[in-house]
């Protein structure tokens, strides 16, 4: 099954990249841009037989590798 994991920074964590993007867009003629937030999406086939198993596998992958729980949180979507 195909799984889609979305990983973002937890609230309150500094995101210098988002700040740089916002400032650059403003400079490029979009003065009204605000509240830039970034996320990473990782899509993958997990080879699980059903939704339940896919969800469990994806959650384990996030905990072990994909997300950094100290500063990131994640959501999982199953196609």
């Amino acid at each position: 099954m195909r799984v889609k994991v979305a990983i973002g920074l937890r609230p309150g964590v500094l995101d210098p990249e988002a700040v740089a993007i916002e400032r650059s867009l403003k400079g490029l003629g979009f003065p009204d841009v605000a509240n830039v937030k970034r996320q990473k999406i990782i899509e993958l086939d997990v080879g699980a037989p059903d939704r339940e198993a896919a969800l469990t596998a994806a959650r384990a992958m996030c905990e072990k590798l994909l997300a950094n729980p100290v500063i990131e949180s994640y959501t999982i979507d199953i196609a």
């Binding site: 937890r10 609230p11 309150g12 500094l14 210098p16 400032r23 950094n68 100290v70 500063i71």
Partner: protein, 579 residues
Amino acid sequence: MTSSDSSAITPKTVAEHGLSSTEFERIKEILGRAPNLVELGIFSVMWSEHCSYKSSRRHLAKFPTKAPWVVQGPGENAGVVDIGDGQVVVFKMESHNHPSYIEPYQGAATGVGGIMRDIFTMGARPVAVLDALRFGEPRHPKTRHLISGVVAGIGGYGNCVGVPTVGGECTFHASFNGNILVNAMCVGIAHADKVFYARAAGVGNPVVYVGAKTGRDGIHGATMASAEFTDETEAKRPTVQVGDPFTEKLLIEACLELMARDCIVAIQDMGAAGLTSSSFEMAASGGTGIEMDLDQVPLRETGMTAYEIMLSESQERMLIVLKAGHEDEARAIFEKWELDFATVGHVTDTGRMVLRMGGEVVADLPVAPVSGASPVYDRPTLPSPKLLPIMGVTGAPPMDVREAALKLLGSPDIASKRWLYEQYDHLVRGDTVQRPGGDAAVVRVDGSKKGLALTTDCTPRYCEADPFQGGMQAVAEAWRNLIAVGARPLAITNCLNFGNPERPRIMGQLVACIEGMAEACRVLDFPVVSGNVSLYNETDGRPIQPTPNVGGVGLIDDLARMTGLALPGEGFVILMVGE
């Protein structure tokens, strides 16, 4: 309850701030009343082991700190040593152990960022970083994750800022399984007559805040649970700081540009305990007072309280006292570098720190006792048990020499660390003349034929077996590494990493290591000019091996006379000297 209300300070709140009941009584005595939460938070950080050195201070006094070439010894942001031609070298080492264990990348990165700020705060351009790393056993399940995160974090920060990481150490031992050590040293060069100190002076002079905005980073866990937070989700905010090397790079350039003019009275970076320690230290060393309006502090998040603003450990921020009338000049420089700039207060002659927010006074504290009257402990010590010496093997060697040599070369501590230092830009600035891989790194003093030799050393195993001898050995090894490249050793910095000092055996290790180091420094005329202490390095009652890392700096007057370890060719005579 509001921040300025003191009625809700319970013994539990006091304990959560890491203060003992005796310490709390002392606070009430100083103030003549109970502190409010903001004030309690300020005391808790200013009197923490980290800021006050309450367990180690009386022993640190044993280090020799003077020599004709020492310009500034311990007590400022970093040590300063004369290298001739109107130039000085500025250096210091610092730990970031705990944050690096929790979040290896950001913990190590912000450690590098912090130590760099200590250096450029004094007017020096950072020219080199070294890192002394201690990990658990290579096979321990967490080691790989920790080491790759830490190395990437150090590289990620240093590489981006453009300061070469030229040397360090990396060893492994089971005692570090649950408590790694990440110590970083930064070295900078300044003009002798352009060294800046953190002494706030001149009544009415503006106090300005520059750099990145303040967020809720790093406000320590215990205080999260205090009465002021009701929202569950708020309480779960991460307490690790996230670094932004890009902002740090801009901050270096902007500060050095401002320092080239004549507008700065005092400058201090916001390191641990951020706005609190920087403002108190500047006022204390200047013997002045400061009034600040916290509404002027640039904030990253909405709804931050005075308590959070004062305790935030957001990175890449500095506090500066300007000469009155120079604000516009300074603002223009920081705006050019796209950094925040705000006048947040002014210097007073009251000897008090007065903080306002929303028109209300949220803290009013006497400066001197908060920074100077922290408790000093003379903790009991116990000597380390003498370990049995390993007897020389008699009879046939247990394995053949070739096999033994390969085994030694393949052991994690001795094996080449190339995989590690190739991830560090050790060449940027074009002055690295001895790269990682030798005895000491050598960095040319830009535009001259002089070079600085740099090394970090310590063998925790020796310090565990015999703390006094181990302390001496660490200093002696640094000395040897410096002379091995042809340098004249100048001075050292250090970072003393130990377990819980409230346990007499650990305290005994700390004291004996210090005394051993001090003895070697005295004999070698190799003074200590800066340093840092990191205690409570243990998990589940299991302490780390005592690790007093030494960072040595030496001077090569003419790089043409530098030596290295490569054999230059055939036909040379090999000599062995010493005992």
